[in-house]
């Protein structure tokens, strides 16, 4: 068995992945919203709020997509 198929090892890798995936999408969403607030529309803080919610959705979507790849 190749070590990349070792269930413990692969499981640990996937666990570390999901956490950062959730967080990174939230940060990107909030940052994009903040950019729109500051440089495009002067609509603070609404674009950032919407961006954070979209980022939350994207993070959950990312985690969901990662989970779909898991082989049972």
């Amino acid at each position: 068995m190749a070590p990349s198929q070792d269930p413990l090892f692969a499981g640990l890798g996937q666990a570390i992945r999901v956490g950062t995936d959730l967080l990174a999408a939230l940060i990107v969403g909030g940052f994009l919203g903040w950019l729109i607030d500051t440089y495009v529309f002067d609509s603070a803080p609404w674009a950032m709020v919407i961006g954070l919610f979209l980022g939350l959705g994207a993070g959950i979507r990312n985690a969901y997509r990662t989970a779909q790849r898991w082989k049972t």
């Binding site: 190749a2 070590p3 992945r17 999408a25 990107v28 994009l32 994207a58 993070g59 990312n62």
Partner: protein
């Protein structure tokens, strides 16, 4: 006690500048060269023995190559082997950077956000380029997952856009944060050992030893995750959905 972030500071050893750009050689650059030399020496030595019954070094090299091939075939399929040189170079460089960084007095190159960021952004940019060159404008279809009802499309496009943009960031931050945090914890615990003296210092020292073993595992797992995600993103670009 020393500031635990002190080991991450970089000072130029050989000040150099090229057209106003600061290209001074510092400890991180030096360690990167050492890492490249180590990987080269390992594989040249392993190759030169080339016997049917592998030597220790040769079996180590064969194990690493087999491991990388396993990752590529699991995530990208057989046609992913085209990218084997890139993926293996990335994996070996990150793995050896993480491991060399654990030697006391050395420097962890991957604890610099610049290094991990450049890797993550270029890997992600490459996957986008591959996607557009294989599928043309149809590659924009990754922004709409299959089976999305029409009324959800205006919501799904920004969400997918954010989740795409989050990829290089999570890739860079994961490696950087894990390496930095591990070394800060080791630094703090070892500082406590010295501050504690003989009477109580053995307790933080025991933790230092235990965490050092954990960090060895983390060094390997982080290199593995970075490589797997590189393969996943490239695989997504070759076969979207």
């Amino acid at each position: 006690m020393d500031n635990p972030l002190h080991p991450f500071e970089l000072h130029p050893l050989v000040p150099l500048s090229l057209f106003g750009l600061d290209i001074s050689i510092n400890k991180a650059v030096l360690v990167m060269w050492i890492v490249v030399a180590l990987v080269l020496i390992l594989f040249i030595r392993a190759r030169s023995s080339g016997s049917l019954i592998p030597t220790k070094l040769q079996s180590l090299a064969e194990m690493l190559v087999d491991f990388i091939r396993g990752i590529i075939e699991d995530t990208m399929g057989k046609d992913g082997m085209r990218y084997f040189p890139l993926i293996s170079a990335l994996f070996l460089f990150i793995l050896f950077c993480n491991l060399v960084g654990l030697i006391p007095g050395s420097y962890t190159v991957t604890s610099q956000l610049v290094v991990t960021g450049v890797f993550a952004v270029s890997v992600y940019a490459l996957s986008v380029i591959i996607g557009f060159s294989v599928h043309g404008a149809k590659f924009l279809g990754v922004l709409v997952p299959p089976g999305t009802p029409g009324w959800l499309i205006p919501l799904m496009i920004p969400i997918e856009l954010i989740s795409q943009l989050a990829r290089p960031i999570s890739l860079a931050v994961r490696l950087f944060a894990n390496m930095t945090a591990g070394h800060v914890i080791l630094g703090v615990l070892f500082g406590l050992t010295i501050a504690g003296g003989v009477l109580i210092g053995w307790l933080p020292f025991a933790f230092t030893v235990a965490l050092y073993a954990l960090e060895l595992g983390i060094a390997f797992i982080q290199a593995y995750i970075f490589t797997v995600l590189t393969c996943v993103y490239m695989g997504d670009a070759i076969h979207p959905h």
